[in-house]
Subunit: 346 residues, 2 copies
């Protein structure tokens, strides 16, 4: 690698140019070229190899407050990366180390070492650190096992079944002896969920008879609903939830693009009534809370599952940073099947 | 006791005459006099001494389904009673035994022994088996400790602070080292909550500045909200809930009298967004699920607390079965401070 070029070259980055109202558009983003910064004592310089695109990014584009700070206008878009140390003035890292971090939408990132996760030197498929063995995989594992607590014979339902989180939820549920029912947009995604990912069934939420098909696929009701979409899917799931059902809540992608008040009727009283009548637990969680306590347990359990091919996901690799804005827009529009990463180097 | 009279006398009972729409009215109930039934082999006859009045009764007057079967039109209203065995053809019970059971709104009840809880022979204040040491006390104990999990220094909020459930929640929270903030209707109830029950503060939900006062009383936010009312109180509590807050949900009295669709805006998306952003747990529970597992633990912990006066509640004793309908109507209209029982005998 020609680090000399990198060190004296250009950092290409994408900043938030405007806050979207509703769906983001390309003009909300701006590609900039700035000098690559030099690390001071205690810092290191990262060359970002892969950038992860994820639904939560839409939330960060809104004005705060949310569970994480909003991206400021003019600031680099946030995002997880797999990165390589190319210059280090930090005692714990040396050039050539590969790490997973929040490098953002840019080719180079300066770091003080905080929050860097060192990847094993022999790891070959390093982009998996952004999917199965990274934040989305950990999200699925934590929410399903720590909050959903699926038992053998339970019925587990998850939407976005072909996305990384949904795919891992479904495959983990099967490994625990539960039935796994996926929800996805379109016949092709549903086919992949069943044939490639092993779901027992997958329902197309665009079908006019979606609620009826979901009911038919869950004849014994639903014990765990892993909520990562919100909206109409939740409405169809609610009447199917069994007594004692658990609803880990990690995302509401159907709401991210909405703004202001929602038209009536007010669904809250009915939902609360159902929570009471059927002793249902809904629990929100943010995976960044749980790295210290549970990430090592996750990796110990998941690494062999992934290595043996028991748990997998499709990976879409976009080429070049400039593809990131349209990639996120397409992702939010459900145009991908599987994980989406942007390869930042040739 | 003149058991001869009872055995050959009249069972006075109140049946559901009409399903209320909204608030119940006296004409929804009908007082009947029927012959006292005679126990067959394996049965026993109970003379009911005290009838408990509770908010959940309103829900049972609706057409099902709810978490418990609806009371059929023409059937005796359901209700917990402290009762005395006056004739027994059951091997486990003898005349003179006092039990807590679901005797219903009537002076005499035939039983096959199922679900009868024998009271200690030396228990003097037997009506407490319907409040502090019965279902409402167990509801408060289970929901607060098993779902709410209050820690020292936490802020615990409960509505209907002077009702049995609310009073026990507040006093138990204090015993666990938490701050206890009550919500009640009117200055007099709030005074009682603070002066008699030991709440750190109590907010009058009828005050025009209710939300502002609640915020002022919870400067460090709310860690546990014991939800037993729903409606506007929940709306004021929601923005005060801290990260990781727990919401045991055991009742929605503000909804019991409502029917049909609720006008917009739809509050559900905002609530779900808050659950996610602040990692909040809402969990419904029905106390009848937990007698087998936890009632003995409850009694072991609570009996000495009640005996020593550390946990208490006001008791309103109505005289005579005919007072029960208006008593329930008044209870649903928040006209009582404390527990409401009907004494069925002179």
């Amino acid at each position: 690698m020609n680090t000399g070029t990198a060190l004296h070259g250009v950092n290409r980055r994408i900043v938030l140019q405007a806050r979207p109202t509703g769906t983001p558009v390309p003009a909300d983003f701006l590609l900039q070229e700035v000098p690559i910064p030099r690390p001071a004592e205690g810092q290191l310089l990262l060359k970002n190899l892969y950038l992860s695109l994820d639904p939560y990014m839409r939330g960060r584009m809104n004005e705060g407050p949310s569970y994480a700070p909003a991206v400021e206008l003019g600031a680099v878009m946030v995002g997880g990366t797999v990165s390589e140390v190319i210059e280090s003035r930090h005692p714990r890292f040396k050039p050539g180390d590969r790490v997973v971090t929040q490098g953002g939408w840019q080719t180079h990132t300066l770091s003080d070492g905080t929050g860097l996760g060192l990847l094993p030197a022999d790891m070959t498929h390093i982009s998996l650190a952004l999917s199965l063995l990274g934040m989305p995989g950990f999200t699925a594992w934590y929410g399903l096992l720590r909050i959903g607590e699926p038992r053998p014979g339970d019925t587990v339902v998850v939407a976005s079944a072909t996305g990384t989180v949904g795919a891992v939820v479904g495959q983990l549920a099967k490994r625990k002896g539960s039935r796994a029912i996926g929800i996805a947009g379109g016949a092709e995604k549903c086919r992949i969920a069943v044939e490639e990912l092993g779901f027992d069934a997958c329902i197309d939420h665009r079908s006019p008879d979606f609620a009826g098909q979901l009911a038919a696929a869950t004849p014994e009701g639903i014990d765990v609903y892993f909520e990562n979409v919100g909206g109409a899917v939740f409405d169809a799931v609610l009447p199917r939830l069994n007594i004692g059902a658990r609803v880990p809540l990690c995302g509401l992608i159907a709401q991210y693009n909405s703004k202001g008040l929602y038209p009536g009727p007010d669904r809250l009283p009915r939902v609360m009534g159902q929570l009471l009548a059927r002793r249902i637990k809904i629990q929100g969680f943010i995976i960044s809370d749980h790295y210290a306590d549970d990430y090592a347990n996750f990796m110990r359990e998941m690494s062999p599952e992934v290595a043996h091919g028991h748990i997998r996901v499709r990976e879409n690799v976009l080429q070049g940073l400039s593809q990131a804005p349209q990639g996120l827009i397409d992702l939010l529009d459900s145009r991908f099947t599987g994980k989406v990463v942007v390869q930042l180097t040739d």
